[in-house]
Symmetry: C2
Subunit: 124 residues, 2 copies
């Protein structure tokens, strides 16, 4: 079983690399064939090429991620609450999100689900 | 598609009923054949009889639930961060949890997954 420290480190690497605009670092958190459903209900983006394209958009938009509370780890999964600050259509915007990562035995993220909706988006 | 307000109301009913020790009210949030995996990685408890037995233990232990941040809703799912206060083995204990509810079209919870592990449990 993957240990908690490695899962928490992966979450912190994801957020830290995102905030440093380090696209390679963000993608390195994910397995080659990882599936990202962001937000839940949209078609999953699958594989490194699709993920790179997806995360590049957020990084280019200057999105900054801040953890809200501890990472919760259970049986190869990490769930974490955070908020995103970005400028959207000229306005400072905040989005409250909960992500769930599923990990493989090597500590790479094989699946990410992002939970948020219109009610979680508003003026910062 | 189930609307956000109904999903948020269900989360609030779950927490409010739990904190009022209203076992019927807690169970009423769930569909007849709902599956609860709490924590993730343990065998799911399936159906109202199993859920009643499970939630009765937490209520009898005096567990109190407090939401930490907004409920995140996406496509028939609600994710929410919260903490549980309870007295465990004579000591005031806090457990940080993220739950994900999946809803049916009638607004009942058909699946609940609770994410937390030993690192999320400590002195209150």
């Amino acid at each position: 079983m993957l240990d908690t420290d490695r899962m928490v480190a992966a979450v912190e690497a994801y957020i830290g690399n995102y905030n440093r605009s380090d696209l390679d670092g963000v993608c390195a958190v994910f397995a080659e064939d990882a599936a990202v459903e962001d937000p839940v209900g949209t078609p999953p983006r699958v594989g490194q090429a699709a993920l790179r394209e997806f995360f590049a958009v957020g990084i280019a938009a200057g999105a900054r991620l801040t953890l809200d509370g501890p990472v919760r780890c259970a049986h190869g999964h990490a769930a974490f609450a955070f908020h995103v600050d970005l400028t959207w259509d000229g306005r400072a915007t905040r989005i409250d999100v909960i992500d769930v990562f599923a990990f493989d035995a090597q500590g790479k993220v094989t699946g990410m689900k992002a939970f948020f909706g219109p009610a979680n988006m508003g003026a910062a």
